[in-house]
Symmetry: C2
Subunit: 406 residues, 2 copies
């Protein structure tokens, strides 16, 4: 019999409780031992549930109960999650969390404590919700050197962009709809400014390349500046705009990490990821590109990943698992000048001059023209980004909007 | 130090040898112990390789060397692979294989022997080549009851269909091209008749639902009857034709398994899987639908999955792993009458009568008409398959071609 405490009874926590309690028989069969949810830590009690007797509001009961082997943290945020998780690990309890903010900020430190104490610290649910990503990346692709991890890591922004693309809906209208549907928070900043995606690419990068990447180190840009006309121009040029988190290893061992609106070619599978779904692409030297797709959020999907981690912990109590990386450092994250294609939208009061400049800079590249609005859109040929920027700077226009491509 | 023998030095076997020998340092770091390739079993020797000294042609050297802990089988086929693998397991050696024919035919028996001997029998590479599928399905989705597994399991047929769809190429021309490119064998039967996909869906079904499914139990249909006009009609109706292997659990515990050309809605991610790529979709009660995508074949991609299994074995010598199912039985596989949509292509010498019959059977459903050829194509509304078939039977036409939808 393995005793579990769940901290937090919000969307994910209540899903975890339901799975562990209501599907107890299935889970016991899977791990060949019983799991007992002993406590659920919440600010208040929840009456009328089959497990209403399990609620407590004093963390110390969990911490000091030596029968509790595994603690599930689904409270979110850093405070008090960080202190609670750290205390549990130090007490020799395994911890499973869905808290991406915690893992992105404190992952290396917490992993180190778990290693020292020979317990598990698992967080599959922190990236991609229910989608198996972290464990397959580490275990199934273990024969590979991983070069690049990228993907659609935030369902809310993908839903909003999708509504803009499919239904020609303005950003603000699509955001309102996402809020009405419960996909976006009242304060949507963390999603639409890219912070949530940033935390997830930090975790993916750390796991793929072995060193912690801190959110502050990542150039992060959200989707608030994307307009319907950007989307239309991108579509005419054969692309779909997605918010992409990306981490890439350079030949010198440094890593380049970004979160930004990105033009994805319509032939690439990531362009077909719609609604609140997520997808993570991993490129290794032997396997090439593999993609993991599914629900990146939601109560039961996320709970599914948390419970799989709990089951794994229960089968391997006191056996440290595979998720591990070192502390990061300042010089590890670098912007590297690489070959790429850029999307540029010029707005010009001298249309003909701008067109002429474009031709002289980029030759026979396809452009989409709108003489009435003075807009010219194009995707450049592939060149070093520095050289593209130099060429773009030399082109006459009143304003220039530049977006990256995948 | 863990000693490995590789049986077979074809496409996959040579890839495994290269990874294990040339990337030895990376692999040793990953598992914190050394792997030594002691023997490579092949009919002949291969000169000029860095590991030319390792070739042997007598299987008994491997079988009787107590230092060999792990045997990799990449010979393919049942004879002598089955005898060799069985003998190795009985001698207490772990076995890793990429041989789907072997696993689909003898999986339950070989798993049972491995369990008895407390060794590993792993076969991630047997489905989806390098794509992590089996391990994530069993480990990361362990909190789920899995209802359905389906996917594009054969790269050769997907390449051929893709060429037909994108380049308007006839089946025979596309097949020839696939052969020229090395994607299809000289004798392409196993691919184009669906046998290869059948073996893979058998393995997926066994793992998802816990009971062996034998290839003979699966209704298997290849792509040889798919014409360019089928593809055009499907496209006009919003679908792409793919060869889909599918296994679905019914409420009575029986399982329905099929391999057949299937119309996939263009909005579904599987419709965007192009070229020789594979994708496997798994649906669980908590997680919903997740999809795993990547290279389903090829030397290094498949070797990547084999070597990950070898590394897992090396870390867990004498610890039986998670891949397990029971022997199957006759009554387990059933055709169930379920709600579905069907694609029907009518060819009629009395166009108006056929149209009238269609309207009276299916009401206002969208139809694509070609009066010149006498063809009418449609996708029905969703109804029980038996009821759809009854309606279709009552419609006048000279010939009727029926395909399933996803």
């Amino acid at each position: 019999m393995v005793n579990v405490a769940i901290m937090g009874h919000g969307t994910v926590g209540s899903g975890v409780a339901e799975l562990l309690i209501e599907k107890n028989e299935r889970i016991a069969k899977g791990i060949k031992s019983d799991i007992n949810v002993k406590y659920i830590l919440a600010l208040r009690t929840f009456d009328g549930l089959s497990y209403s007797d399990k609620f407590i509001n004093d963390f110390n009961i969990i911490l000091n109960d030596s029968e509790v082997d595994i603690v599930v943290e689904t409270m979110g945020g850093l405070k008090p999650a960080y202190d609670f998780v750290k205390s549990c690990l130090l007490k020799g309890k395994s911890v499973v969390t869905s808290n991406k903010e915690l893992v992105a900020a404190k992952g290396a430190e917490l992993i180190k404590i778990a290693e020292d104490k020979n317990v598990n610290f698992l967080f599959e649910a922190s990236v991609g919700g229910g989608i198996p990503v972290l464990r397959p990346m580490v275990q199934c692709l273990s024969a590979n050197e991983i070069f690049e991890v990228k993907g659609i890591l935030n369902g809310t922004t993908n839903y909003i962009l999708n509504k803009m693309i499919m239904d020609n809906m303005d950003f603000s209208v699509a955001l309102k709809l996402a809020q009405d549907k419960g996909y976006a928070e009242k304060d949507p900043t963390a999603d639409i400014e890219g912070h949530d995606a940033c935390r997830k690419i930090c975790i993916l990068a750390a796991l793929a390349f072995g060193k912690h990447v801190y959110p502050e180190q990542v150039k992060t840009e959200g989707i608030t500046n994307i307009t319907l006309s950007d989307i239309d121009y991108a579509s005419s040029l054969g692309y779909v705009i997605k918010l992409i988190g990306k981490a890439k290893k350079s030949s010198d061992g440094s890593v380049c990490v970004s979160v930004r609106p990105t033009l994805v070619p319509k032939e690439h599978l990531l362009s077909g990821v719609n609604g609140v779904f997520n997808a993570v692409s991993v490129t290794g030297d032997a396997v090439g590109e593999v993609i993991f797709y599914g629900q990146g959020a939601g109560k039961m999907a996320t709970a599914s990943a948390v419970v799989a981690d709990v089951m794994d912990c229960a089968k391997h109590l006191n056996a440290r698992k595979y998720l591990s990386w070192e502390e990061g450092d300042e010089n590890y994250i670098k912007s590297v000048d690489e070959k790429t294609k850029l999307f540029v939208l010029f707005t010009s009061s001298d249309f003909d001059k701008t067109l002429l400049d474009i031709t002289s800079a980029f030759g026979d590249v396809a452009v989409i023209k709108n003489k009435q609005s003075g807009e010219i859109a194009l995707v450049t040929n592939e060149e070093l980004e520095s050289s593209l920027n130099k060429k773009i700077a030399g082109i006459f226009a009143d304003s220039k909007k530049i977006l990256h491509t995948l």
